[in-house]
Amino acid sequence: MRSLGVWRALFLLANALAILVLWAYGALEVFLNPRFAAPLPWVAVLLLAMGLVELGSLARGGADGTVGILHVFWFLPLVVGLVVRPGNLSGAFVGSRGPTAAGRLIATASGPQEQTSEASSDDFLVSDGAVVQADSSARVSADAGTDSMPLASSVSVSSSIPSKAQAPPVPSAEAPSEGVARASAWCKHPQPPGAVCVDTLKERFWYGQMLALYTEPSRHRGRRLHLVGMATRDATVEPDGWHVGRMMVWCCAADASPLGLHPVGRIEGEPLEEGRWVAVEGILDTRKVRLPGLAEEREIPVLREATATPAPAPQMENVFPFDY
């Protein structure tokens, strides 16, 4: 086993198998945006073939280089992965990321926030289009941009999503006047007296719905919202405040940033705890806050009169900025 070739072949085969196992369990999305995970099964098959060719040519004889200490790294990820079993990013990591995603969302809505800017309404439609139509037949304008993303392959991606994520949209919702595409995304707002319709933020459409909330917070003021997220300490709105959100993964877990809402004031029910998953229901309100580096204050959505109940960690903890 002194020969490097044997170890190289083992590296190729073992890592190919590891990728295939992760893929089979739908666990690639813990690490990667599904769009970037899409080519990985094919890569694994290729690595498998490469490993077999390597083994085959070794069998025909042939010496090669010597094993160095750095070659430990070929197998270290497998060992670490098996020992540590990294499930999801911890509360401490989520907390250390700060409200940067919120900052981006606000900044995307260029100009005064009260006006409906062109960009924000487009993004609104993307998310809602996805709610109405889970397949690609009802793509709306801004979605063309999504298709230009590298490695985009919505067909193979959607097959690897855990079935839980494909739950139908909120059935109680009703169409506001703006258009058909928005039909099932949100409750009618403002609601007729007596009606209680709760907007549930779904992981699948998290980004689109958050984008809508952050770009036009005042427009959604008064909605009753329900969301499941990880609670972390966050002093953006209140000195002793909290943030309940999900990690949004653009590309891979290395670029994950939290995206959610700040409950403000007294929080009823279960006391929040750093890094714990909670279901929070409250009424959407807005607060003017100063975000780091920004001169003027910005209005961001917050949840008031929130009630927290303990919730199990969802099957897929990350959310992704594309409809998938």
Binding site: G5, R8, F11, L12, I19, V30, F31, L32, F36, A37, V43, L46, L47, M50, V53, E54, S57, R60, G61, G62, D64, L70, F73, L76, V80, V84, P86, G87, N88, L89, S90, G91, A92, F93, S96, G98, T100, G103, R104, I106, T108, S110, A119, G145, T146, S148, M149, P150, W250, C251, C252, A253, A254, D255, S257, G275, L291, P292, G293, L294
Partner: protein, 316 residues
């Protein structure tokens, strides 16, 4: 324990993301090695004269390589006798010019052409300036370390260790000249797995450093530096270097700082992180002479730094 779990998660994630691109680079390098008839590549490379640096710095538009994939290709071309200055230009510029990277940047900053145009312009400029610098201070000596230089062996199949030439037990020397298609394909696959496996060692090692930096160094610290008018650009470049993001991803991450940090700092983060990060630097150090790496990195730092400070428009 949660810290270890976070490091492991980020580490494995960076690698899962890099694997397809490292594989692409390995495939291109292997194709250059085994599928291009012997001698032809050397003649083409030798023929590229004065126009070499400008051409090499825009080659990235047509050769779809990002920062993970460019290295094996450049190393292969250098071992075939490509001029160091031309190779440097390609090495520095290509990641910013890859069509997929341009598309990702465009998508991350909708309606803000400064970022896309800036990235392309600065990419080309970095390639050009680094190439000229290398021609002036380095000359034509091979920047490959001596072990790697052996890679120009005649049967040239498989280079364990970065570019090291392996003494094959069976004779491959014949296959290239009158090889059957199957043999050539096998040689291609073996060359590809050699390149891939050897590069992954350093990608894995470098990304571990990046994952530890991400989890252990509080991002708040760098972000608070980012608010400083002068330190913003270098701090964000350091963050881009340490985060080890894919060139396709760093535009999205930069976009999460819009409105929080000045546009020039965001641009420097995206642009520098796409050209160089911890894992690439480790990869370079194993194959290139340290002095050569020093000159190239210096050129990159100076150009991106200047671009960050001169970036048009002070934020939104």
């Amino acid at each position: 324990m949660t810290t270890i779990s976070d490091i492991a998660l980020v580490w494995i994630a960076i690698n899962l993301e890099a694997v397809p691109f490292v594989l692409l680079g390995a495939a291109l390098a292997a194709a250059l090695e085994t599928l291009v008839p012997a001698g032809r590549l050397e003649r083409i490379l030798a023929a590229s004269g004065r126009a070499g640096i400008p051409v090499a710095s825009v080659l990235g538009f047509v050769v779809p390589v990002c920062d993970c994939a460019v290295f094996p290709v450049v190393r292969k071309l250098l071992s075939k006798g490509w001029a160091p200055s031309h190779a440097t230009a390609f090495l520095c510029a290509s990641a910013s010019l890859s069509p997929a990277v341009i598309a990702a940047t465009w998508w991350a900053f909708p309606g803000d052409s400064r970022m896309v145009v800036g990235r392309v312009v600065v990419g080309i400029a970095t390639g050009w300036i680094a190439g000229v610098l290398v021609r002036l201070v380095w000359g034509t000596a091979s920047p490959l370390r001596t072990r790697a230089q052996v890679a120009t062996c005649s049967h040239g199949h498989h280079h364990p260790g970065p570019g090291e030439c392996r003494a094959e037990g069976h004779s491959h020397g014949q296959e290239r000249s009158h090889g059957r298609v199957v043999d050539r394909m096998l040689a291609f696959v073996r060359s590809m797995s050699g390149e891939f496996a050897d590069n992954m060692v350093y990608v894995l090692a470098g990304s571990l450093i990046a994952a530890m930096a991400q989890v252990l160094v509080p991002r708040e610290l760098l972000l608070s530096l980012g608010e400083h008018p002068v330190l913003a650009v270098p701090a964000m470049m350091a963050l881009g270097f340490a985060m080890c993001l894919c060139a396709h991803a760093d535009a999205f991450v930069a976009a999460t700082f819009v409105g929080v940090l000045p546009a020039g700092a965001l641009f420097a983060f995206m642009s520098f992180g796409g050209m160089l990060d911890a894992k690439n630097l480790l990869l370079w150090m194993t194959s290139f002479r340290p002095k050569f790496v020093g000159w190239v990195v210096l050129a990159m730092v100076v150009v991106v730094l200047a671009a960050g400070f001169l970036f048009p428009g002070a934020g939104p």
